[in-house]
Amino acid sequence: MSEIVTSKRTIGVLFGGRSLEHDVSVVSGLQVLQALDSDRYRPLPIYIDHSGHWWTGETLWHRSSFSKGGPNKDRLTEVVLSSNFGASELRSNRAGALPGLPNLRVDVFLPILHGTYGEDGCIQGLLELTGCAYVGCGVAASAIGMNKRLSKLIVSRVGIPVVPWRSIQRSVLDLGAAWLDDTPVEVESVFGWPVIVKPCNLGSSAGVSVAHSPSELNSAILRVFEYDTEGLIEPFIKNRLELNVAVVGLDTPVASITEMPVTLKGSHLSFSEKYKRQGRKSVSSSEGMASAVRVLDPLDLPAEMRATAQEFAIRAFTELGCEGISRVDFLIDTDRDELFFNEINTLPGSLAYYLWSAPPHYWTITELLTKLIERAERIRATRVRLERQPPPELRLLG
């Protein structure tokens, strides 16, 4: 009896990208490459450089290739995504450069791109247009998840408490200097001091600052406008804790255990605390988010609050129409024991794999990725099979 050999599916892991979080994405991307089940899949690294070009090659597996100004392009092959709907192919001008090229079929894409162009629906739009299967949120959920104001608007409509906010658009800069006087007056009367000011559409802590006075507020707003066209101003909860829960989109979404990032400097988690090694010289060098200082499943967290956070996380995930793995970040006002939705990360650093290491779900990232890849193909197939034949009333051209 002859055995049918199923070929390994090629999984294109997209990482790097044009956002501020390029480096974080490289770290996460390399983790995912290593974590994919190599018995089942052929992981293909696809690095997007700072200017948006796509590259593939063996050297991309090694973190050392990314130091000193990025990988040596001479050893890589530049590729583009075929625009033919459903082809799901990478193309290269250099024939024979890699096995399978110039047309290399990719079965499923795994966008591991944090921030602008990667987490905000842009790459998802490209993959939709070309009919590719991909893991994670679709266009709308990505775009809304990236926009802090829109995600707050939506989750607050389904009963999840959010910290109040004021939005300020960059276009105020074109309307004279009156806002420099008016905004602090308004903010002071509504929130008092201090306030936290952050970009509306960035995933990292870049551009975030706390303001204690009118002059600090104005500078904080300008700092946001260096990065984004919209800023959010919120009261700064002085005695606060952060609480994060991941949700994975399976047939029914499942919440992970909770984590509490440890704030080192008494203020909000800053970029370096979030993503750099914390003096733990023995930590493997490709850990990124996974090695930040945190407490998993904190024991002193009231069980009720934990359950509420997990329930809110699933509700937010569902309401925004998310897929894949998202991490929902909450704030706890410790003076009032109140829990607030802060933001959702639809492509969290390290895919928040460390949050599945305790009961009830002992899933390794490898298992989770396998589940998500299978689901991605199903989602794509479902969309492709949607009725595309226009009904008679739309057939105008005979």
């Binding site: 800069l173 200097a177 420099l180 500078s219 300008l222 406008f225 260096e226």
Partner: protein, 548 residues
Amino acid sequence: MPTSSLWLALIPLAAVQLYLVWRRLLAYLRFFQQEGYENLRFLKWTRARSLTDPAFLVAVASAFLGPKFPLSIAILSFLVFLALAVAQPDPRSTGKISLRLTDRAKRILITTFVVVVVVWGGLLSVNPTEPVRTGFVASSAVFLLLPVLLLVGNTLLMPYEQLVQRRFEQDAKRLISDVHPFIVGITGSYGKSSTKSMLAHFLRFKGPTLAASGSINTLMGVTRHIRENLVPGDQFMLVEMGAFRVGSIRRLCQLTPPSAGIITAVGEMHLERFGSTEEIVRAKSELAQALPPGSFLVANADSPGALRIARGATHAKVLLYGETSPETLDTRLKDVVFTSKGTTFRLETREAEYSCFVPLLGRPIILNLAGAFTLAVRMGMSPALVIAAMRTLRPVANRLEVVEEDGITWVRDAYNSNPIGFRAALEVAAALPVSRRILVTPGVVELGPEQREANRKLAAEAAAVCDFTVVVSDTNRSAFEAGHRDAGKPGTLVPVETRTEAFRWLRDRLRSGDSVILENDLPDLYEASEGIFLNARPRRPKALKAQV
């Protein structure tokens, strides 16, 4: 005639030498690139450096011994050349400024390589009856003349490079006339880059602004930057205009006709290149002359040179800024106070007086900020907005940046210093609340005949502020010794040969509460030739950190 087995040895010998030549060319090219492919400047750097190349010495020795023991010398030299080729650090990934293999660099490399082969072939054919000796003599000559051959390669390419450059300039000009941005030209002996980045920071809150992030200030650099980065919709473009000789700014102004200008400070920097302060003033005046009638020329009134240029400007409307100048100023800097977090100061304009804070340090930087403020406000920005924007400026690495690490306060001012910047760093260091201050510096260079005197004065001032001065390399050592004697503190001077040695000295003595001022950490050009031919990687400050 050599035996056939010798011939068999000579072919790989030639091959390995060509490989070594290739490696050496890369090494020299890195410095040629840093000197802006200017033949004379590179020649000045290279001097007799190739005499110290082990490859040259091996070739000379082989030329003497080769005829006596042809086969063994051939094999031995083959092995040595191979070892040298492998041992040479790759300039593409080593050194403080590594080689970028741009298209031009590749062209120069390949052309020079062809020149080398031709020269070698020519020398070999002089005396073909004695191939072993002739071969090694030819090799010696090639290794000795390699820097010169690089210049020959560059010169051969010159007509082509000029053609390419002209075409690129036309492209850039067309782009500028399409996009039509408001162009601000910025020149001066120092402070150009920082003024540019601060003004860009302000203007970006008014409209899309193109400004190069580094010090792009040559015709070629600016052309390339425009072609790669200017996009329709850009409202402002800031161009740093470097003067390498009289005429260079005029040509830049033809490429990017300025609608406003800033003259930061005109002084003795790069005196070596110009010969006299007079020439420098002439070179920098070209910006003022290029300004259209009614445009703004902002000038630093504290700098006599800049003030002279401003006075000579015929069509532009002059706006003056300064701190100490007796002139009536449009913006006067007052009450400057340094802390480890930044600087507080006041700006007095003709209309009002403003309290400001900026997370940057150093008197010249604050003065540049006053210049950028002056023009930004004249270009229609509200003073309150500009002052709010000042708080969002970020310190630039190694430009008078104060970093606290494990109890040590580092005052990092490594990048291209001049006496004014040097003093600024000393002033900031003196204001910081630390227990001991240790200065590490090779002194200042490129000051022509005044170099010794300038360093002597700086050394005396440093001795008054610092507990120790570690002077690196012998370039300015005797001036520093004299300066320390003048200050009556000869015992606080620590002369060392290299940066590595300086850090070793520090590592053994630093303790918590100390401050280290890293001043004018010279680019590779002026350091001893370590690391060019053989791997002598300097230890990084990181190693130091771990030990303190």
